[in-house]
Amino acid sequence: MNAAVRQSLLRSALAVIGFLAIWEVAGRTVFIPAVLPAPSVILGEAWSRAASGLLGVDVAMSASRIIVGFLAGSLLGAGLGLLFGAVEPVRRAFEPIVQFFRFIPPIAWLTPVLIWFGIGEMGKWVLITYTTTFMVLLNTLAGFAEPQRDRMRAARVFGAGPWRAFWHVRLPATVPWILAGMRIGMGNSFQTLIVAEMLASNEGLGHLILNSRIQLSTERMFVGILGIAVLGIAADLGFRALTRRLFSRHRLGW
């Protein structure tokens, strides 16, 4: 680790500690716990909830919904994106439909999804899949919009037909775009997930937040809110670490 990196890490750590310290003092002096609980109070609540196993259930439910929806959406988005990119007439035919649906936010589908799939897991999977699919699809199409003229011409010179030029040039050139779409899609999935869990679920971090309000337990509400942040950061770090390993040939920008 070089000096510059160490210094910037140190600065970030100091900022976090300072922020928590101010919050702690504010929570213990200015505000009553029902309005803004101090970090130590929230941590205590998280600890006891984790010990009883209740927090683990909510985290596991939220995480499993994200994972299923994210994987399904990534596969669907990348598959459609590659199909549209490979076959121009297909892209032309379906682009208007894509453009139409992209302006309908996932949450707008919550009610019909409840009617179609009920309150069970399938509904959440569908909503998160929808969220991820569009981010990955649109990003993949943006990747295909890069001309790659000389790379494609070189492939033709070296004897590659359309199929092999796609496989050996177009596809690898689009990999960083697909992965960037997945990363954005994962971020957006958390928004969809939390709203869906708040409005139509009996477990998960979103449900924990809403249910804590009903039970007037602000510190538990914060356990849910901060739990989302921790889950999101862990998911993003994991995704970045994994893709850096799996796609080490590509310049991913993270």
């Binding site: 003229r149 000389d150 790379r151 011409r153 070189a154 492939a155 033709r156 010179v157 070296f158 004897g159 590659a160 092999r164 050996h168 040039v169 690898p172 050139a173 990999v175 040939r249 590509h250 310049r251």
Partner: protein, 262 residues
Amino acid sequence: MSLIRFAGVDFHYGPAGPSASAILKGFDLEIARGEFYVLLGPSGCGKTTALNLLAGFERPNAGTLIMDGRPIGAPGMDRVVIFQGDDSLYPWLTAQENVEFPLRMTGISAGERRRRAKLWLSRVGLANHGQKFPHQLSGGMKQRIQIARALVCDAPVLLMDEPFGALDAQTRTILQDELVAICSGSGATVLFITHDIAEAIILADRIGVMRAGPGSAIKDEFALDLPRPRNRGSVEFAAAYDRIQRVLGEEVRKVVSREAAA
């Protein structure tokens, strides 16, 4: 008998019509087998366009374009291109894999591919850089990858579009000398594009100077029978430079004054 022949070639981009302005008009060019032909011309006159026609990336609107007695068809391994800039390298492949790429497309076995790519990497001075990715290499090294990737094909014709145009003067000089060493005695026929007169004299058997566009064609040709490697400081070099400069300078002035007027 010439290997390559352009006869009365017309070309314009986009659909035909009264608004379509010809890039090339009545373009004639003959290149003999084994000849190193350099095309000089003011920028924008249509040098790359002529090369793209020969490569098969574009089709002429009129006239004939023949190689080895047959009309030019789709791009292929019989006339390999070294592109301007480095946008034709595959950034997700190492230098070694980039050089192997044409052999992979041809279906040559992995071992043979590796052996031949290694050989060419070392011939262009990249023996120790095979495992690096293009973005880890300098501009000059990237052009060496392109040269190795083209020469590994053993193509009878090489088409080079200002391959050293973006390099600094020192690197360019070194690569020119290396190209002379590699090409002399290889038997390959080369069409080489540049706007640098000194580069043309170092490399060429024959030089064609193109007119300023639109509707460009070759204005004048110069045969150079100086022995190689050529000395940039010699009297003959200076005399050739002077002769060519007079012809090319006139065309460049046309472009410059037109740009000033616009």
